[in-house]
Point group: C2
Chain length 254, copies 2
DNA sequence: ATTATCTATAGATCTATAGATAATGC
DNA sequence: ATTATCTATAGATCTATAGATAATGC
C-alpha cells in the first residue's frame, strides 16, 4: 500500500488551557485533529444529520460547546473532511493529466492511486461523498473539486478507449456516439467509487487484489485484452512510483 | 423502457374523515401513497435524518401528526420504501436464477432489468440504499433482501466468467483465486448500482443507452468479447420479454 | 359508528453563544 | 496575557401521543 499526504499539521504543543473533564485518548494529536477523526468516524457510521456535536465531543473527551473553539460550525467540520479526502486524488490527477506516458498507462495509475487511497483512508471517509448533505450549496467547492477530478478521468478515458470499442459504440448503441462515451466515463468513474461500498459492506482483507481487479476491469471495459492490460499495468507500476515521489516532493514544498 | 409492478394498492375510496386543512395535490392516490411519495422525494433529496415528519406532511397537505394515522413511525415509512424498491429485482432474480438459458444470458437480463428499474423508479429511490440509517438493525430485513439479490448475481457471475479470465485470476492476482472472483462479483454489482449515482449527478436523457452500456461493460469485465456479447445480448432481449410476462402474471396472482 | 383528519403539547433533543475558569507563557 | 477548556442556557427544533372534530356510512 502506498502512502501519500496524511501529514499531521498541528503536532500538539504542550498543555495550555484549562484541562479536559474527560481523559484524552489521543494525546499525540492536536484537539482539532481529534475532532476531525471522531467526526469522520461518526459521519461515516451514522451520517451527518444523525451525528450530534455532543456525540463528537464525547468521543474526543471534551464538552459539546468546546468544539466551537476549534470549528465555527458542524458544517465546517464536514467540509474540511471532504476537502482533505479529495485532495490527494486531485494532486495525483493533476500530475497524471500531463505526465509523459501513454494515456492508458496514466489512467491505470490514476485508478490504482484513487482506489488505494479510498481503501487506505481512515474510517472509509469516501462514504462522505455520498452523504445527502453534500448536495447543499454549502459544499459547492468540494463538488467542484470532484468535477475537476472527473474531468481528468474523462480526458484519459476518451484517449484509452480502443478504436474497436469506439466503432462498437457508433455502430450498435446510438447515432450520438459522444453520449455513449460519456456513459463509459460514468461507468469507469463508478467502478472506482465502488470500492467505497465494497469496503463498507465487507472491510477488505486484501486491498491490493481489489485495486488490481478494478484497474484491470476498467481497461477491459474500454476494450483492452489481457495482453494489452499486462503491458499497461506494468508500465503503470513504474509511473505510480514516480507519482508518489512527486507528491511527497510537493508535500515538503507546501 | 419496461414496466414492472408499480401497482397502486389502495385506489382511494371516497371522502371519509375530516377534510384536510391544505389542498390535496394528488386526489387520485390514497393518503398512504401520497405520504410514501413525498417521503421518497425528501429522503432522496435531503436524506432521512434531515427530513422532518413536518416536511413530509407539508408536501402531502396534511398536519404533521396526521402522518401517524397511516404509519406508526418515520422509520416504518423508510422501511416500506426500501422493501418496495428492492422487491421487483428480487422477483426478477428469483425467476432468472432457475430460468432455462445460458447463465451469461440470464445475467445480462438481470443486469438490464435492475438498471432499468433503478433508472425508471420515481425519485431515484435507489439512493435510499446508501443512506447511513439503513445500516441500523431496524432495517436488517431489507439488507437480507439485498443480500439474497447479491447471491443470485454471484451465482450467475461465477458461471459467466470466461475460462480465460478465470485463468488470469489464478495466474496474475493471488494464490486464492476464490477471493479474486468475489471481488469481480463486487465490481459487477457495483457497476449496476453505479446507475444510482449517475442518475443523481446527471438525470439521464437516454436510459436505454446507459442500460446497454452497463450490461455490455459487465460482460467485458467477465472476459467476453464483442462477438460473444452480441450473441448474449440478443438472447437476453428475448428472455427479458419472457421475464416481464412472468412478473406481470405473478402480479395478478398476488 | 367509523374514518381521517385536526389542535395541542410533552419531552427530548440539538446547535451555537455568553461568560467563567484553570492551566501555561512571558 | 493567552489559551483551551468548562458550565449554563437560549431558542429552535423534532417525534410521537392524547383527545377533539368534521366528514361519510349504515
Amino acid at each position: 500500500m502506498w502512502h501519500h499526504g496524511q501529514v499531521i499539521d498541528a503536532p500538539k504543543k504542550s498543555d495550555r488551557g484549562r484541562p479536559r473533564s474527560g481523559t484524552n485518548p489521543r494525546p499525540d494529536l492536536s484537539a482539532s485533529e481529534q475532532i476531525l477523526d471522531a467526526a469522520a468516524h461518526l459521519f461515516v457510521e451514522r451520517g451527518y444529520a444523525a451525528t450530534s456535536t455532543r456525540a463528537i465531543a464525547e468521543e474526543v473527551g471534551i464538552r459539546q460547546a468546546s468544539l466551537y473553539y476549534h470549528f465555527p460550525s458542524k458544517e465546517q467540520i464536514l467540509e474540511v473532511l471532504l476537502m482533505r479526502t479529495v485532495e490527494p486524488s486531485i494532486h495525483a490527477a493533476t500530475y497524471l493529466s500531463t505526465a509523459v506516458a501513454e494515456p492508458a498507462v496514466r489512467l491505470h495509475a490514476l485508478i490504482e492511486f484513487d482506489t488505494a487511497a479510498l481503501l487506505g483512508a481512515a474510517h472509509n471517509v469516501g462514504t462522505l461523498y455520498f452523504l445527502p448533505e453534500v448536495r447543499n450549496e454549502r459544499f459547492a467547492a468540494f463538488r467542484a473539486e470532484r468535477s475537476t477530478l472527473r474531468g481528468v478521468y474523462a480526458a484519459l478515458i476518451s484517449q484509452t478507449i480502443t478504436d474497436h470499442i469506439r466503432g462498437e459504440l457508433g455502430e450498435t448503441l446510438t447515432p450520438d456516439a459522444a453520449s455513449a462515451i460519456d456513459y463509459l466515463v460514468d461507468v469507469v468513474f463508478g467502478m472506482v467509487e465502488s470500492v467505497i461500498s465494497i469496503r463498507a459492506d465487507r472491510p477488505s482483507e486484501d486491498a491490493a487484489v481489489l485495486v488490481d481487479t478494478i484497474a484491470q476491469s476498467c481497461l477491459r471495459v474500454l476494450g483492452h485484452d489481457s495482453k494489452s492490460i499486462r503491458v499497461i499495468s506494468s508500465s503503470a507500476s513504474a509511473l505510480l512510483i514516480e507519482l508518489t515521489r512527486v507528491l511527497e516532493q510537493d508535500q515538503l514544498g507546501s
